[in-house]
């Protein structure tokens, strides 16, 4: 029983992070029909920028409270990622709006290599220890079940962000414009919507979520490096496809579900394979799911037909 609850908690933590990243993929896909493969690398830039900021602060103000330090690091990482997301759209993807679909896809993959290479030049090839400013000393709410304060914060902050984003999209004027643009750019512009601005805004929101997710991911594992965006990026993409790409609720559901599958899978993979694979093979679950969804339900759990998309 304790193991089960423990795995549930672990799954929720990583699933929340996947969900935040998956939202960025799915929002951009919803509005442009583009899979922005560089999205995972925005997360990496967020984590490394935060790391750099914390290092700087530790140098100039060694006595600063960890909460302030983390807050400032986020307040630097978020605008940096926002700028990055904005520039990617403005300089690369916008020019390819009417190009054949392969062109923006290949550009996105190129963008991913570009970001990783620049990050490698700036921060080197090594793994960096990510300061764990929030306590990682496990608490024991139930005998035998452990949860760290950082995990509590990840779950709570992700939930708050997802609620906020849902309200933004369903209740506000810009959210309505986002949904209208996603459905039909041309008609949205006939309503007076500056669709270029709405698309840029979508990229910016996705990038901000990625920055937060990057700091969470690095805080949880205590490590950051230039290639760290690849795996969570791919998993979050899987989560978005699982939930139904283009659908916000789907990205949230898909992220949490993938986190849970991985966490439970890691717990039982040894039994399942009679000791052939151990828990370090937990990454295979994401790709098994991706394969199964694409074969049996390409529209995902909450997805609708996407063939009518521009």
């Amino acid at each position: 029983m304790e193991t089960l609850i423990q795995q549930l908690i672990n799954g929720l933590v990583i699933g929340s992070v996947y969900a935040l990243i998956a939202l960025g993929y799915t929002m951009v896909y919803g509005i442009l029909g583009l899979i922005n493969f560089a999205h995972g690398d925005v997360l990496m830039v967020g984590a490394l920028t935060a790391l750099q900021t914390m290092m700087f602060l530790m140098g100039v103000a060694p006595g600063m409270s960890p909460v302030y330090m983390l807050t400032i690091a986020l307040m630097v990482a978020i605008p940096v990622c926002i700028t990055l997301g904005f520039l990617m759209e403005r300089l690369a993807y916008r020019r390819l709006r009417n190009a054949p679909r392969l062109a923006p896809l290949i550009t996105a993959i190129g963008m991913s290599f570009l970001l990783q290479t620049v990050a490698m030049i700036l921060w080197g090839r090594n793994y960096h220890t990510f300061p764990q400013l929030i306590s990682t000393t496990p608490m024991q709410p139930i005998e035998g079940v452990f949860i760290t304060p950082v995990q509590v914060i990840i779950i709570a902050a992700s939930a708050a962000i997802m609620i906020g984003l849902s309200l933004l999209v369903t209740r506000t004027r810009i959210g309505r414009a986002m949904r209208a643009t996603a459905e039909n750019h041309r008609v949205a512009s006939l309503m007076g919507v500056d669709t270029n601005a709405v698309i840029a805004f979508t990229f910016v929101v996705g990038a901000a979520l990625a920055a937060v997710a990057g700091v969470m991911y690095a805080s949880n594992y205590g490590i950051a490096h230039y290639g760290m965006g690849f795996m969570p990026g791919l998993k979050a993409f899987t989560a978005a496809v699982l939930g139904g790409i283009g659908n916000l609720g789907g990205a949230m559901l898909g992220g949490i579900m993938l986190g849970l599958v991985e966490s439970f899978g890691a717990g039982y993979i040894e039994h399942l394979t009679f000791g052939f694979l151990n828990s370090s093979y937990q990454d295979i679950f994401a790709f098994i799911i991706l394969g199964l969804v694409l074969i049996f339900k390409p529209t995902g759990l909450l997805g609708e037909r996407v063939s009518d998309r521009a």
Binding site: R173, R176, A177, R179, A180, E183, N184, R186, V187, A188, S189, L190, M191, G192, V193, D194, T195
Partner: protein
Amino acid sequence: MHTNPSSPLLQLQNLQISYGGIQAVKGIDLDLWAGELVCLIGANGAGKTTTLNAIAGVLPIAGGSILYQGDKVNAVPAHKRLRRGVALVPEGRGIFTRLTVEENLRMGAYTRKDKAGIEADLERVYTMLPRVKERLHQVAGTLSGGEQQMVAIGRALLSRPRLLLLDEPSMGLAPLVVEKIFEVVQSVARDGVTILLVEQNANLALEFAQRGYVMESGKITLTGSGGDLLANPKVREAYLGEVA
């Protein structure tokens, strides 16, 4: 309202529009004066939709010019033309099928800031189109074709247009619904909104319109008052299904 009443509200001068290398509109001239209801009729593929889309700014033009309120607006993007009072009810209605009916209507008022005015205009649309009011919270994709057309018109009205462009509002609808839609169009015209109406249903359109233009293969071939065109044997033969 209109800055220079001695010039037309809308003027197309030698307007040309191409798709790729193929010219769909081959240099047309058209004047629309404030307060007029003018119709543009023509066979399938004549270039009517192309012309309306270019006036609304969702299609680039290849030559000539579009003057609105005396200004050349050739390069003004669609969202800015709406702010200046040009609204298009597109062919096929262009409803946001995943938004609710109310959200669709509010999209029409997207650029407006006068909350009270928007609520008042919503109420006016509801009284004009009572069937819409019963379905406010329904996703618009579930509406019938006629209801969708009414939402599309109501949505355009919520922008408080000066110039309303209507692209075949009667397309595919039952005669009773068409009648209702034409009643709405007439009442909008009576409120002083200038209307350019594209119709396949030439009989009905010419009956309501003060003037009409006939378009064939990208050119304007005939123009005159609604009555004159209705009486014209060529029009009767080509568009009203009569044998001369």
